[in-house]
């Protein structure tokens, strides 16, 4: 169990759900340096370390399915090619850098419709199931969240996922989406408003978790 205790100023600078998500430690500098030199063994460690985060990010942005595996593979290949340009001493952590690549790949795939839209909008996994309200009534909170998120525009959903699930600061969300921080803030805000409207009381529990989470820990960044 990893724990992150954030100060008030840190929480203020990060996304609304940032405090909830504790992160696994990033790869050590030596491994990253070897990755930068495109050492296959080091890069294997990189994939092992970050594959769950990439799958989590992508599947929440484009929906579950085999296309996520293809997209994730493409993300890691892009990362491998771009590794020599990654600044180990820069502000961006490897996870932030990689998930920025993943986000752009996901948005690009959605834009070009190379991933099926169905899983998010009309797929059996979501749309043929109950509405968020019905899911909540059945005690299926996860399904309700997924269904509510599926109604968000792509850019809002990406901003929401990065901020709530991956601990991105608003500036990092903006950088990932290629927008100013203020625009990122607006997107996160609007996404949260829509989620609040869809989830009702369940969202209050969500907010309550955020309030309590500054000193708690979670096991995995997912």
């Amino acid at each position: 169990m990893m724990g992150v205790a954030m100060t008030e100023s840190e929480r203020g600078a990060r996304g609304p759900g940032a405090a909830v998500r504790a992160r696994e430690p990033e790869l050590d500098r030596a491994t990253l340096a070897a990755c930068r030199a495109q050492d296959p063994r080091a890069f294997r460690a990189f994939v092992v370390r970050y594959q769950r985060a990439v799958f989590a990010c992508l599947s929440r942005m484009v929906g579950h399915g085999p296309h996520v595996e293809d997209l994730a593979q493409d993300v890691f290949l892009r990362a491998f090619r771009a590794m020599p340009t990654f600044d180990i001493d820069g502000a961006a952590k490897p996870a932030t850098w990689l998930l920025t690549i993943a986000t752009r790949a996901a948005l690009d795939a959605r834009k070009r419709k190379v991933v099926p839209i169905r899983p998010l909008e009309e797929g059996a996994h979501v749309a043929h199931g109950p509405t968020p309200e019905a899911s909540l009534a059945q005690g299926q909170l996860g399904r309700a969240i997924e269904r509510a998120a599926a109604t968000l525009p792509d850019d809002q959903r990406a901003a929401f996922v990065l901020a709530e699930y991956h601990g991105f600061s608003l500036a990092e969300v903006g950088a990932a989406l290629g927008t100013p921080e203020a625009t990122a803030k607006t997107r996160v805000f609007r996404a949260r408003e829509r989620m609040r409207a869809a989830l009702g009381d369940a969202w209050k529990a969500w907010d309550g978790e955020s309030e309590r989470s500054s000193a708690r820990s979670t096991p995995e960044e997912t």
Partner: protein, 483 residues
């Protein structure tokens, strides 16, 4: 439980890591993709060994070993990106460029790339339109479709029959490579043809052959009969000329070294004779008095001495051995190295913006090229656009006190500014050092016989008009200097 965790993500399959690594391995294989390209351009051949020859005469190049990228890899960039290719090369890729490299072999299939290659064995860039081979130098390769190159190349030129021929035949190859050289020599080869380029020169390789071109890639009229026996003969003659010029330069360099040794011996003997047998150190010929400067101004000459420039503009460290040879204690190494670094940094501060200007405002590329290549770039550009002889005369007159320094240094022209900066480097260094190690030691170091120094002499010949008469009114020199 955090309600967020209710939205379960998709988990990676067990074999996902293996699949990614298999794909990485496939793209990393040295022959991946390259064999296919070699088949396509099977008629190309690698040029013979090219000679790496420093252009900025008298400037020693201390190669740093700060590079060290992956030994193989591939990159497609969306925006300007600098990266190390292998152990010897740094490349600046413009957006849209694509390179794949293994060791010292680079496949550049698209885009515009600057290369800086440290001296060593052959370094090759393969393009769909021909190959480039160097030993260590700075150059740029631009790969484009024939249509785009032809359109770029004719924007400022009249389209003639030859251009049309290039486009028509080139369509079969569908690509052209424009190679521009900033330092040293580069061989550009295509089938049985090879053109050797020196600093400031450009060549174009495409479906009809390889030949010299203007900076924008437009084929030179005199060399564009590519593919014909005329060009083959011309290339052979050119190669012979290059060899001949090199032999002459080598002979001149050897003669210069011999003469300098004889001069040093004679000066030593003279000093002994003038001091009644007491040995005193001969005066360094670059330790100039005001009378010396006036004599030089009358001849239209400027002499300069400054510490050697390293590629990264940081200067080299002075060894304890050098200090001992100049009769200086090792304890003075730190202030001397600091002052030398400051001197080279100041010169780079003047040179870098001029270099960036010559490169069309690309300061980051100037940074990659480094001082030595930048000197070549700036001088080559200036030779085409400025009256450099007049600039040398004006600087000599300023140094002699016969002409005031213009309020705006740019009025001296690009070469004038550089020479002025160089000519003041030794005195500035001596003054700076005098504050930390004393005037005697400072003088001994700056004008000693040891260490790495760049001594330069610039000669334009005496002025034919009256000194102070504004003789230059060219656009690059700006307004005439005040008399």
């Amino acid at each position: 439980m955090d309600p967020r965790d209710e939205w379960t993500p998709q988990e990676p399959p067990r074999d996902f890591v293996d699949r990614v690594m298999a794909e990485v391995d496939r793209t990393q294989r040295p022959s991946a993709g390259r064999d296919e390209r070699r088949v396509i351009r099977g008629s190309w051949r690698v040029a013979g060994t090219a000679l790496a020859l420093g252009v900025a005469a008298g400037v020693a190049l201390a190669v740093s070993a700060h590079h060290g990228g992956a030994s193989h890899g591939e990159a497609v960039v969306a925006e300007r990106t600098q990266m190390a290719l292998g152990a010897r090369a740094v490349a600046v890729l413009e957006g849209g460029a694509h390179v794949a490299w293994t060791g010292d072999d680079v496949d550049q299939t698209a885009g515009d790339v600057f290369y800086r290659v440290e001296p060593g064995g052959a370094f090759r860039v393969h393009t769909p339109a021909g190959d480039v081979q160097v030993l260590g130098t700075c150059f740029r390769v631009r790969v484009a479709s024939v249509a785009s190159v032809a359109s770029e190349g004719t924007t400022e030129a009249v389209v003639n029959g030859r251009d049309i021929k290039v486009g028509a035949i080139g369509a079969a190859v569908a690509a052209a490579a424009i190679v521009s050289v900033y330092e040293g020599k580069v061989a550009v080869s295509h089938a049985r043809e090879s053109v050797t380029l020196t600093a400031g020169e450009t060549a174009r390789a495409d479906g009809v052959g390889v030949r010299r071109a203007s900076a924008d890639g437009t084929p030179s009229v005199e060399a564009s009969a590519s593919g014909s026996s005329t060009l083959m003969a011309a290339n052979e003659n050119l190669a012979e000329q290059v060899q001949d010029y090199k032999r002459r330069l080598d002979a001149i360099a050897a003669q210069k070294a011999t003469t300098e040794r004889a001069l040093a011996d004679a000066q030593k003997k003279l000093a002994i004779a003038e001091s009644d047998g007491q040995v005193t150190a001969p005066k360094n010929p670059y330790d100039l008095s005001q009378d010396d400067l006036k004599d030089l101004a009358a001849k239209g000459e400027v002499h300069s001495r400054m510490p050697c420039l390293s590629p990264d503009a940081n200067g080299g460290s002075v060894s304890d051995g050098t200090l001992a040879a100049d009769g200086l204690p090792a304890s003075e190494a730190a202030p001397i190295n600091a002052a030398v670094a400051q001197s080279t940094s100041q010169f780079w501060g003047t040179l870098q913006p001029l270099c960036a200007q010559a490169l069309g405002g690309k300061s980051d590329i100037a940074q990659v090229l480094g001082p030595q290549a930048c000197q070549s770039v700036v001088f080559e550009m200036a030779k085409k656009n400025e009256d450099t002889e007049e600039e040398i005369r004006q600087v000599s007159e300023i140094l002699a006190g016969e002409r005031p320094m213009p309020k705006n240094p740019s009025a001296l022209g690009v070469v004038g500014q550089l020479i002025y900066q160089e000519s003041g480097a030794s005195k500035a260094l001596e003054q700076s050092l005098a504050q930390s190690i004393g005037p005697d030691d400072a003088h001994a170091f700056v004008y000693g016989e040891h260490g790495c120094w760049s001594n330069s002499s610039w000669g334009a010949g005496p002025r034919k008009t009256t000194p102070g008469t504004p003789a230059v009114t060219g656009t690059t020199l700006g307004a005439p200097l005040p008399p």
